[in-house]
């Protein structure tokens, strides 16, 4: 069952005259008429109950995509369906079932945390009794209840972000759009937000999140799409994306007695050997074959292993590699 279906989605901006000829600070595709192709025919499906990560460097088109999905921007071409409804043509109905935390958003600073929640609840048509109940529960869950009557201009960035998430959850949304939800937050706030994302996902809420934090993406997302220059260049599970850069698989091995680097390099499954403190980093192709081969080699060399760690490629390395490959192919 799909919560979100995106088909051939594009967004082109006409730059104001003063901006034509560059100076955007991004690598968005700019045509001869001075138009910027922020999103270029992308397509994907997000399953109901999935946490879907949307990654990409600055200016890649992440925020533009999320803004089209939440009804802020009108797509130049293509379609977005949220639970089967066209997101642009049925904006109000779609907005009623989604929650949104835009990037760098703020709460109303002249309002207290409580007033912010009441205002948003009222806009979503939540009854007064239900608003009070939900606001109390959310503020307690997000560790903000004690500060509920304090104006939010006195909140820290982490508290603001937690309150924004509370505001997004006031309407019991079916889909939650989070644009950089943990960016620039303290450890405690980031941890609470990650816990809540998991918790609400377990309750069946579909989560669509953009992030720069690869740890967050790796920990939370069931699937990840990587976007660069307005195009999706990879879409898979975090594990599969990491496997795309097999050359980064490595074994860190430490011996008690002298083993020469050249001897390890001669092994057929070994691609490269790097010296690290008190040992070697062996770059390999296949972890199973290489470990068997190394064990055999050690037995034959009468060496003793002090420590051995497999060095899995990190999502961050995979991300950088995919972006680099994508840029070379263009």
């Amino acid at each position: 069952m799909n919560a979100i279906v995106v088909e051939n989605l594009s967004k082109q901006y006409t730059l104001p005259k003063r901006s034509k000829g560059g100076g955007m600070g991004t690598k968005k595709t700019q045509n001869t008429q001075g138009n910027v192709q922020a999103v270029d025919s992308i397509g994907f499906k997000v399953k109901k109950g999935e946490i879907f990560g949307f990654l990409g460097p600055n200016g890649a088109g992440k925020t533009t995509t999320i803004r089209m999905m939440t009804g802020v921007l009108k797509p130049t071409a293509g379609k977005i369906k949220i639970f089967g409804l066209d997101a642009w043509k049925n904006q109000i109905a779609v907005k009623q079932v989604i929650g949104n935390v835009p990037e760098m958003a703020n709460t109303y600073l002249s309002f207290s945390g409580w007033q912010n929640l009441m205002f948003i609840g009222e806009l979503y048509g939540v009854s007064k009794e239900e608003r009070i109940k939900r606001a109390e529960n959310l503020l307690k869950r997000f560790d903000l209840y004690e500060k509920r009557d304090v104006k939010t201009k006195k909140y820290s960035k982490g508290m603001q972000q937690r309150l924004l998430l509370c505001m997004a959850l006031m309407s019991n949304p079916k889909i939650l759009f989070l644009d950089e939800p943990t960016s620039g937050l303290d450890v405690q706030s980031a941890k609470i937000i990650k816990q809540i994302i998991r918790e609400y996902n377990e309750r069946g809420v579909t989560i669509f999140l953009t992030t720069h934090d690869m740890e967050v993406a790796n920990e939370l997302c069931h699937r990840i799409a990587i976007i660069n220059h307005g195009k999706i260049i990879s879409l898979d599970t975090p594990d599969n994306i990491k496997r795309l850069i097999q050359e980064h698989q490595a074994i860190d091995i430490y011996f008690t007695n002298g083993v020469k680097r050249q001897d390890i390099e001669k092994l057929p499954t070994v691609k490269e050997v790097q010296e690290i403190k008190n040992g070697f980093r062996v770059i390999i192709e296949n972890i199973h074959d290489s470990i068997c081969e190394l064990v055999e080699f050690i037995k034959e060399s009468n060496a003793t292993i002090k420590n051995l760690n497999t060095h899995e490629p990190k999502l961050e390395e995979a991300f950088l590699k995919i972006i680099e490959r994508g840029s070379k192919n263009e």
Partner: protein, 262 residues
């Protein structure tokens, strides 16, 4: 893979009454947040006082024109003080994107701004009326109802006019202030403030004129437009109001995206 549909009853949230109700929620928020913001105080309270002093001190102004002129200037400046700053202020404070992703249309947000400006304008225009009655011994010789009708019509027309002033897609309220002053002041200077309507040649193109005429009638004078003058005044103010509203819906629809570029 099959797709779950949003239940049909959810689409009812787009109905007129729901959106109207939500526009009042927006208005309540605007009034709470913006009534004491510096641009609103400057344009809504300080400017009427300063202009009143500048335009009346040392001149022999009839008490009737003093009251109608002050009321016109106050309701015009206060009703157009909140509308133009809501959009740039919300863009600057980064609350606008959150607001626009709520189940409301841009028209609902604009209507909310109209209601808040309308209420703000009406409240402040009552002050010169009350002061005039107390200090200048003015009596409502004909009808308070006529004056109130004028206040309501003018409040609506000017609140809608304020929306047009908020069209430029800036996130700096100061820029909007400069723009609004450039538009509002010439309109004030061509209006027959503190004088007879017939003595101002360009008066008829200003919506303020029709409000002044209603107040003058309410305070015992006769309409410059003849026996059905106040009906004509009310009709023209309503036409101005709906015209401004229609124009602002169209212009904001076009400039909205510019607030989210980049």
């Amino acid at each position: 893979m099959s797709e779950e549909m949003i239940p049909l009853e959810k689409t009812r949230t787009s109905t007129f009454t729901t959106q109207m109700k939500r526009s009042f929620i927006i208005a309540k928020k605007d009034l709470k947040i913006y009534y004491n913001k510096p641009p609103v105080l400057i344009q809504g309270i300080f400017f009427p006082i300063i202009l009143f002093i500048a335009m009346t001190v040392g001149r022999n102004v009839q008490p009737l024109y003093l009251i109608s002129g002050l009321m016109a200037m106050t309701i015009f400046l206060t009703s157009t003080s909140i509308g133009p700053i809501v959009f740039p202020w919300e863009s600057m404070r980064r609350t606008f994107e959150r607001l626009i992703t709520c189940p409301i249309s841009i028209k609902t947000i604009l209507l909310g701004s109209v209601w808040s400006s309308f209420i703000y304008g009406i409240l402040f225009s009552l002050i010169p009326l009350i002061l005039g009655m107390i200090f200048l011994s003015m009596e409502l010789t004909i009808s308070l109802a006529i004056v109130i009708l004028g206040i309501i019509m003018a409040g609506f027309a000017f609140a809608c006019f304020g929306l047009i002033l908020s069209v430029p897609s800036t996130d700096t309220p100061g820029n909007t202030m400069i723009f609004t002053i450039l538009i509002k002041f010439p309109l004030i200077f061509i209006s027959p403030l503190f004088m007879a309507i017939s003595s101002s040649p360009l008066a008829f193109i200003s919506p303020l004129t029709y409000f002044i005429d209603i107040v003058n009638v309410g305070l015992g004078d006769i309409s410059v437009f003849g026996s059905f003058g106040i009906l004509l005044d009310a009709g023209i103010l309503l036409a101005f109001g709906f015209g401004f509203l229609y124009l602002s819906f169209a212009l904001h629809g076009k400039t909205l995206e510019k607030r989210f570029r980049g």
